[in-house]
Symmetry: C2
Subunit: 254 residues, 2 copies
């Protein structure tokens, strides 16, 4: 485990996300999963199936982050160009991986269909495989770049097989207040200043069954500090003449 | 209307999206809306509530795209820093807008709460307002940058009020095939090559009630070409021994 902040960039590759045809569901899943591994997603980019854009985005992200995770573009069709782009980003040839080829050939198919499927066996030379718990073709990683499927069920069968060397785990706790953000925003700003940049205090308005309120969310690695900040926020709510609402913690306090 | 391709970059601003707390729903809405205005979303970035990141992202995007649309960070709390960052990106002072101030003051509140709310009246000097059909504080635009709320219902009350000077409208049509992608991927690649880069042919696998299939989606501005490509794809499905499934068009063919 690292003491320092370990960051990731997520590249969501696919015209279908940018056209609005498909709602991305992978970023939220990846972010929540990496939180539990001590890795902070500090940016995400949605980019089209365009060779130079993918190559440049991979190269830019891998130099600035501990991890780069890509989703999408590793299927068997002409618009699945992620593998060749990642190979190009690393200036490596794209080769057929014997392990993936064997797995793909284990499901019989006519020769021409098999040839199409074998597109999914191509990885940059020297890349390691990312297991795919669905039994389908694996993803791959090279240095700090992890290349995974875009279909959420497949992505979710790949990501948990990766061993991340993360930093301290980001914890969060929250409390709701049945008041508008502006009724408490000054106090929140003061509390945020007191605790500094190590804890992130966010406020998120909601409307639940016609009742307006604000969820105050604290995120950071130090649970003692988080607990203290939570008490301060609860006191600020009381100072405004309201009782704090539901409180939640994402760590075990027993 | 422009004949050329008119592009937009979407900046989704907010720690809550990157932490996985909140599922972004705005990109899909924006993309679908801009499609109908002849504007192509060609990239999107999810970035944190960090001053320099927002300033640099705005400056980078506004130089490379016809339009930049931002969501999030324009509420009344300490972590709502989008307005000041956009002002900084344009090297302009942040000023209180009299129109927004009047609208905010029309809802009475104690002086300290009113002061917090008035944070939402601050815009870069010279910016124009983006109406907010919910009756809440408006967004603003400056040059080609449009700054809107992150809450989907509020974003959706702002975006339709903007008048975009778009290019040709991107149309799409699709047909489903009850076969795997790799059964037809070679034919799709050949068809894509024939039509060139003016039409984008994508294939998206699905599993509907336990039945696997692939949706073939064509997108482009020329409906005659789209119709021709659709017939070619249907023929390719038939050549594979299947009948084409559901066909849909997003333009009026009467």
């Amino acid at each position: 485990m690292n003491d320092r902040r370990v960051t990731a960039s997520v590249l969501i590759i696919g015209n279908e996300i940018l056209s609005g045809r498909t709602q991305d569901l992978n970023l939220q899943y990846i972010a929540q999963h990496l939180n539990t591994r001590g890795v902070v997603v500090s940016e995400a980019h949605v980019i089209p199936d365009v060779h130079t854009t993918i190559v440049n985005s991979v190269n830019d992200a891998r130099r600035r982050h501990d991890y780069v995770l890509t989703t999408g573009g590793i299927g068997p069709t002409h618009d699945d160009i992620t593998a060749e782009c990642v190979a190009a980003a690393f200036n490596l040839p794209l080769v057929v991986d014997a392990t993936i080829e064997k797995r793909i050939r284990s499901r019989p198919a006519p020769p021409d269909i098999m040839e199409n499927r074998l597109r999914m066996a191509r990885i940059p030379k020297g890349a390691e495989l990312i297991d795919n718990l669905t039994g389908g073709p694996p993803g791959f990683s090279i240095e700090n770049v992890y290349v995974m499927a875009g279909i959420p069920s497949v992505l979710q069968a790949m990501l948990p097989t990766i061993d991340f060397d993360g930093g301290s785990i980001i914890r969060s706790c929250s409390v709701t207040a049945y008041m508008g953000e502006s009724e408490i925003s000054r106090e929140l700003g003061t509390i945020q200043e007191q605790y500094g940049s190590g804890i992130d205090l966010g406020s998120y308005p909601f409307n639940r069954d016609g009742r307006f309120g604000t969820t105050l969310v604290m995120r950071g690695t130090d649970t003692n500090q988080l607990s203290n900040m939570l008490e301060d926020v609860k006191q600020a709510i009381r100072n405004r003449g309201q009782e704090p609402g539901e409180v939640s913690y994402d760590w075990d306090r027993s």
